[in-house]
Symmetry: C2
Subunit: 412 residues, 2 copies
């Protein structure tokens, strides 16, 4: 009889799925911490294990993908909160070069690999586009956990990821239009202009508006006024950024950055935000792992294609972005290079669009999916190695709030 | 062209809906705080305003109801964190009486009102069942905001709500079975036994297990170990409680109570949890408001029925639960009585089950829905009035962490 009740309330299967995802993710995070490996890798592998590829305990669903999206949105928002606009503007020129080279090289590589594998022109364009997109969430998570978000290379990576996303949007729009046989250059220009204007406007003016609003916010009767303002701004700019065409995480990052100065030292607000982030980010990571289709390995030719695409994705991004940081030390160039490697959910989304338009064939789709997850798994250990020595080596198990030393205590 | 991108990523409409819900809810909360009214009322009314009844900016959806459910789950979990099992056992006997009388009177009233309105036998049973269920989330929210969760009457209300839920489950199972013409008394017994065993077992043993586990949890490499344990336990017991037949919030409350002693004084963990609660509870409140169908008022006879049912729901719960607290002061009896009035989402769920089984007719469904929302709107101001003087009068705008004095600062 309880089934009758359960069927209507119901949500029991949803809660069970969330419970399994979180429990296995945290178990794997613990295992990876003990192996001195990044926790994010464990959490993504948790998704591979419980996802359709292996145990099939949890199936990807719209609900999970929305939770995952909200998770990465708040992750980038909290990263933004730690990032003052000035710090980003200072690295602006270098970031443009990093972003641009990190877009061109992977695109060209993906394009020619697809052609070499007998892909069509449209297919080659799409594979190139899928190679372009950096998923900055993973890198931000690893650097945040190490307490290294305020290094110069971290800032370059964050700024380059924003530029990368705008370039990726333009390429994706172009590729989608070409694959459907109609390119409207005015439409394309409008898209690009809207994305750039939105980003520049919020980055330049947002912080000033928020700093000026701060005294009024403090006078609100609402409990936790800055926290609530942050929530509203984060969701609002995320939605707005999708509307102008860039990824939601860009809007969230800009929202955080706009509030960085006004909420500096407001530990309570930062802590409340990190509660949301810590709860939802595992769903983002597990959801990436769940997208991986291990069945791809049954066909040897696809295995080879997947490995080639993955290798090209790693090398071209590393070389392109590393070269973009020319003038810094070799180590710093390498840090920037590896930080941009993860393709994560962005690469998956591009591949899905291609599949939806009927442009990408099965083997290419499987290979791009593999590449997106594999680059995301490869990058964190490399980041950890290249950045170790930058910070306190013990801090890698610490929490994601480098500005608040009291958070480095282990109890939480 | 951005539409192509948006269509696949997409989530833009979801983010927009969440943004609108949160922004309007917080605006209304601010207005109500300024009018010295409870913020929850403002947030529920926000749902009425933006819901299908009026502006129709946001439609109720599965996703929103899941977020709402997670919100109220974490609300009850954080309430549980403030509630030591001992404090609940002390008020046990009285709570049983409060719960039982608060179930019997509303059921009888609902049953006879429905018969008087020419309802069928099955219909009358369902209206009675829908009158039974207390939604303790609303009361917990108001008392928490006033910093009064640790009064004796608060504890009685919380314990009685657990008992109320178990009795409600039994009644609902019985009513559902009768309305379908088949009552399996062994099945019913099993349901009741499972629910009671689960609740008693977790309440009695949970805290001891967690206190014993605490040193091991502290040794975990995982960052924020207690916070993560709390998340897992909260989701796990919520899912388990639905499985045994009681509401998810009961499991969440028990999970919090199990951790209350082990995490006492762990302000960081409590703050992280309250970040999740504060983010998601507005969706719970707005979602209740969105369920209200104002079109019901177009038919005068339905208006009368809705008002009669609502009045009966308020009076019977107030009198029944108040009498259950016999032996306390009159003021305390009244406090317990009003604390149990809100029916909220639980009443709505029962009505939906009746509708799903084809037992309840349209006017009755509309009236019960109205009753559920109206009782939820009526109770908070009454609670505020009856409890004012118990605590610091100024603390009603304070945050939801009475154990942590530093949280009473306004900046957050």
């Amino acid at each position: 009889m309880p089934e009758i009740f359960a069927a209507a309330t119901d949500h029991s299967s949803v809660l069970l799925a969330l419970f399994v995802m979180l429990a296995v993710a945290k178990l794997m995070a613990e295992v990876f911490e003990r192996l001195k490996q990044p926790a994010v890798v464990g959490e993504i592998l948790a998704g591979v294990i419980i996802g359709p590829s292996l145990l099939a305990w949890v199936q990807p669903s719209d609900l999970i993908s929305v939770l995952a999206e909200i998770g990465v949105i708040f992750l980038l928002f909290t990263v933004g909160l730690e990032t003052k606009p000035q710090a980003i503007f200072q690295v602006g020129k270098r970031a443009v070069l990093v972003g641009a080279l990190g877009v061109v090289l992977p695109f060209v590589a993906g394009y020619f690999i697809a052609l070499a594998w007998d892909g069509s022109f449209a297919e080659a364009m799409f594979i190139g586009a899928a190679m372009v997109a950096t998923s900055v969430g993973i890198t931000a998570r690893v650097l945040g956990a190490m307490g290294l978000l305020d290094t110069e290379t971290s800032r370059i990576i964050l700024a380059a990821a924003v530029i990368d996303d705008i370039l990726g949007l333009i390429i994706l729009s172009l590729v989608s239009a070409v694959s459907q046989g109609s390119v409207s250059y005015t439409g394309l220009l409008k898209t690009a202009a809207a994305a750039i204007l939105f980003t520049v406007f919020v980055a330049l003016i947002g912080s000033r508006i928020m700093t000026r609003l701060a005294p009024a916010v403090e006078r609100l009767r609402l409990s936790k006024p800055f926290f609530n303002l942050g929530l509203i701004l984060c969701l609002g700019l995320s939605a707005a950024s999708i509307y102008v065409g860039v990824a939601a995480i860009i809007g969230a990052f800009l929202a955080g950055m706009a509030l960085a100065e006004a909420t500096e030292g407001n530990h309570k607000m930062h802590r409340l935000m990190s509660g949301i982030t810590e709860f939802l980010v595992p769903f983002f990571l597990v959801n990436i792992g769940m997208q991986l289709d291990l069945a791809v390995f049954r066909d040897t030719s696809v295995v080879v294609l997947a490995i080639v695409i993955t290798a090209a994705a790693v090398i071209t991004k590393f070389v392109g972005c590393g070269l973009g940081a020319w003038g810094m030390t070799r180590r710093e160039m390498a840090q920037v290079g590896v930080g941009m490697i993860p393709r994560g959910e962005v690469g998956i989304v591009v591949a899905q669009i291609g599949l939806g338009l009927g442009v990408i064939s099965g083997p290419f789709f499987a290979s791009v999916l593999f590449m997106a997850v594999a680059t995301t798994l490869i990058a964190p250990p490399l980041i950890k190695i290249l950045y170790s020595g930058n910070g306190d080596d013990e801090s890698d198990t610490a929490v994601f709030e480098p500005d608040h030393p009291e958070d480095f205590t282990r109890i939480g």
